[in-house]
Amino acid sequence: MPAESLEVRNLSAGYGPTVVLEDMSFSVSAGSRLSILGRNGMGKTTLLASLMGLTKRYGGEIRLDGKDVANLKSCDRARQGLGLVPQTRDIFRSLTVEENLLAGLKGRPRSALQEAYEMFPRLRERRRNLGWQLSGGEQQMLSTARTILGRPSVLLLDEPLEGLAPVICDELMAAFARLAATGEMTILLVEQRIESALDFADSVMILERGHIVWQGTSEALRADQNLVEQYIGVGSLH
């Protein structure tokens, strides 16, 4: 499946009675890379989860290549091409590594597993272990690999670098960049390591209390130190 564009219009969503995102609109063109920044608890995770259909939606549209998927259940959204790597990793704890990966295949042949093992050789070593036995970083790798195996056309990454060793971080960001470059995936990235996030993205969006407060290119944000201090925190960029 080639990359698809994503368009969000007037999206409001939250948990139970609490509304976290209010009236949010933005769009991402096919094959591009968007980084979403913001302080703790500003709604980044909520946004990605809402796109995937895992929160309560109060209104708005989510268009995947023009088609509104907002009314679909999350499994159908996944089949339409959305893929999420959640912040909490959510690996299947009682399944082995290999079974975890198989669960993400979305009907692709079993041989596709090699892609995942090439991306993270560590997983190949541990493929017979159960999910709960993995170290934190291994779980993160597994979660990422599992979603990517399904070849989503729009990939939603929620802090995929958390808990990973620096040597892997760089490789992984490079891998994401490659995926986007081949035109196979549109990527939305939430990441606390702002440097990495800015290096990766062609455009950036800043969230504050469930609203988009700034949108622009990475360069523009790098250039405006005040903006960074205001919305993200002092001394985040070096």
Binding site: N40, R126, P166, V167, C169, D170
Partner: protein
């Protein structure tokens, strides 16, 4: 230098996989040690072994010269060996305030009293408030933990550990999930710790590691491959290859 904390020849394997191999490590009062290493190197396992969650296949753990290897996790905590969890383990139904109050009461041996109100003394309340303020949790103090953002939960993990007034504190990725803008809070909290305390921190955020640590230990495949000053780490070829990667040349470290 008398060691506050020391492990000797600590080993552990799961099935055929040796996760810790003959680890020797010592910390003195006031030590600020960072334990880094690739994913799956055995860092969390090390903490589990030290705090008694799992039993080592060989080796000893000494606290203040006393062999605590045979003691259960609870007794080690009571002797001052305290940890935080890499994945938060909190009571989703309780508020941060309740968490910390319970911890303080427990430390003072009052937690299993049947008589007496939970929010009894002003002293305890004062201590709880101070702790929560230090970690910037005051405004969510009375919300259920299940509803607060993940980053704040990480901070609460640290607050609980601090409330136990540990002698040796083991932090397992305290900043994972905490945005870089908030990490200063953690650093601040750590800076204000009494100097008698030895702190070991596992972290993949190298900026934080280099600001915090006075000594760095690198673990790979269950073995210590490097031990030394932060300034020496990035120069070490083995460490660079196994762990740091481009970080070493890219950032202002070194």
């Amino acid at each position: 230098m008398s060691d506050l904390f020391r492990v000797e020849g600590l080993s552990k394997s799961f099935g055929g996989l040796a996760v810790s191999r003959n680890i020797d490590l010592a910390m003195a009062a006031g030590d600020r040690l960072a334990l880094i290493g690739p994913n799956g190197a055995g860092k969390t396992t090390f903490v589990n072994l030290v705090t008694g969650q799992i039993r080592p296949s060989a080796g000893r753990v000494l606290l203040n010269g006393e062999d605590v290897t045979g003691l259960g996790a609870v007794r080690r905590v009571r002797r001052g060996l305290v940890r935080t969890f890499q994945v938060t383990r909190l009571f989703s139904d309780m508020t941060p305030e309740e968490h910390v109050t319970l911890t303080v009461l427990q430390r003072e041996g009052k937690a299993s009293r049947i008589l007496g109100r939970f929010r009894g003394s002003a002293e305890v309340a004062g201590e709880v408030e101070t702790l929560l303020r230090t970690l910037g949790l005051l405004d969510v103090a009375r919300r259920k933990v299940g509803e607060i953002a993940y980053g704040q939960q990480r901070l609460l993990e640290i607050a609980i550990a601090l409330a136990l007034k540990p002698k040796v504190l083991l932090l397992d990725e305290p900043a994972a999930g905490v945005p870089s803008s908030e990490t200063p809070r953690i650093e601040q909290a750590l800076e204000h710790l009494p100097s008698s305390l030895a702190v070991l921190m596992i972290e993949h955020d190298m900026d934080l590691v280099f600001r915090f640590a006075r000594r760095v230990v690198v673990l790979a495949a269950g073995e210590i491959i490097f031990e030394g000053l932060p300034s020496q780490v990035a120069a070490n070829e083995k460490v660079r290859e196994a762990y740091l990667g481009n970080y070493a040349h890219a950032r202002r470290v070194a």
